[in-house]
C-alpha cells in the first residue's frame, strides 16, 4: 500500500481501556495516515473491536489520547456528534434501520444530520449504489435483503457521510462464504480509491487481500 501523503488522520497515544477490574488495552500507540489501510487481525476477545470502538467514542478510554487530524477527541469536552460524522462505521450486524427502506437509510444521515441538500445526496447515493451493484434495490426494505446486500448498503450509508476514515468492525463475521466475497470486493475497491480505512477481523482471507 503506497502512502498517498504523510498526513496523519488518526493518532493514538498510550491508550488504556479498563473494564471494571480488567485492563483490556494497555499503552496502545497507533497512527493511520491518509490513504492508508490498517488491518488488525487477531483471535476473538483480544480487544481489537474495543480499540476500534474507542475511535468513534462508543467506548470510553481511561488514559491516553486519540487525535483526529491533530485534534484531541478523547477529552471530555469533545462533541461526538460532530466527530462521528467524520468517521464512518460499519458494524458486524449491518444495523440498517428496519423501518426505513434502502434509500431512506442512506439519506437519513446526510440530510437530517449534516443538513445537506437532498438532491445532491441522492446523486451521490445512486452513484455509490451503482458501484456496489445494488442500484435496483434502492426501494427495498432491509428485511428483503440478504446479509451480503445489507452489508454493502451499510458501507454505502457510511460513505455518504463523506467521512475521512472508515472503520470496519468484523464486517464479514455474520456472512456466508459466498457473500463474504461480494463485500470484500467492495472493501478492496474502496481501498484502491484511496479511502483511509481501519479494519478489524478474525478472518485470514480478508487480510490476505
Amino acid at each position: 500500500m503506497s502512502k498517498k501523503s504523510e498526513n496523519k488522520i488518526i493518532e493514538i497515544k498510550n491508550l488504556h481501556k479498563i473494564f471494571g477490574e480488567k485492563t483490556v488495552l494497555k499503552g496502545i500507540d497507533l497512527s493511520i495516515s491518509e490513504g492508508e489501510v490498517v488491518v488488525l487481525l487477531g483471535p476473538s476477545g483480544c480487544g481489537k473491536s474495543t480499540l476500534l470502538r474507542t475511535l468513534n467514542g462508543l467506548e470510553k478510554i481511561q488514559e491516553g489520547e486519540i487525535l483526529l487530524d491533530g485534534v484531541n477527541i478523547s477529552d471530555s469536552s469533545s462533541d461526538w456528534t460532530k466527530i462521528r460524522q467524520k468517521i464512518g462505521m460499519v458494524f458486524q450486524n449491518y444495523e440498517l434501520f428496519p423501518h426505513l427502506n434502502v434509500i431512506d437509510n442512506i439519506l437519513l444521515g446526510p440530510t437530517k444530520i449534516q443538513n445537506r441538500d437532498k438532491n445532491e445526496v441522492l446523486v451521490q447515493a445512486e452513484e455509490l449504489l451503482q458501484k456496489v451493484g445494488l442500484a435496483d434495490r434502492k426501494n427495498a426494505y432491509p428485511r428483503e435483503l440478504s446479509g451480503g446486500q445489507k452489508q454493502r448498503i451499510a458501507i454505502v450509508r457510511a460513505l455518504c457521510m463523506n467521512p475521512e476514515i472508515m472503520l470496519f468492525d468484523e464486517v464479514t463475521a455474520s456472512l456466508d462464504p459466498e457473500m463474504v466475497r461480494e463485500v470484500l470486493e467492495v472493501i478492496l475497491n474502496l481501498a484502491k480509491s484511496g479511502m483511509t480505512m481501519f479494519i478489524v477481523t478474525t478472518k485470514w482471507d480478508l487480510q490476505r487481500q
Partner: protein, 214 residues
Amino acid sequence: MTKVIPLYTKALILTLKLASLGIIFSIIIGLLCNILLSKENKILTKIIHGYIELSRNTPLLIQLFFLYYGLTKFGIKLSETTCAIIGLSFLGGSYMSEALRAGIEAVHNNQIESGLSLGMNKWQLFRYVILPQAISVSIPLIGANAIFLLKETSVVGIIAIKELMNVTKSLIGIYYKTYESLLMLIVFYLIVLLPMSILLTLLERRLRYAEHGN
C-alpha cells in the same frame, strides 16, 4: 322510560369525552415519565417508580374519592369531570408509561450505536431510531390500556349517577324508580359499550398478531 334516552345519550357522550381526554393525558404522562427516566437521575427515577407503583396498587375509586372529597382540606374543590380526568390520567399514566417503556427497551442497543455512529444527538436518536421502532411494540399495549380506561370511565359515570340518586332516597316513590332507571342505565351502557368493547378487543388482538406474526 323513553324520555330518559336522550339523557343517557348525553351521559354516553360525556363518558366518551372523559375517556378520550383521560387516554390522551395518560399517554402524555407516560411519555413524560419515560423522558424523565432517560435522564438517569437516581432521585427522579425513584420518584417515577414510586408514582407507578402507587397508582397501580390502589383502586381507582379510592383515588377518585380522595381527589374529590379529600382535597377540600386544602380548599380545593374540583368539579366531578375534572376529578374524573385527573383520576383517570393519574392511573392511566402509569400504565401508558409501562407500555411505552416496553417499546423503548425493545429497541436494540446496536441500533442505537448505529444511529450514534452517524453523528446523531439524543433527540435525533429518539426521533429517527427509537420512536419508530418502539411504536410497533407499544401500540398493542397502548390499545389495551385505552380499552381499560374506557371501561373505568363508564364505572366512574355509573358511580357518579348512583351517588346523585342516593340523595333522593328519602322519597320512596322516587327510590323505587331509581332502581329501574339504574337498570335501564346499565342496559343502555351495555347496548352501546358492548359492541365497542368487542370491536376494540378484536382490533387489539389483530394488532398483537401482526406484531408477533402468530
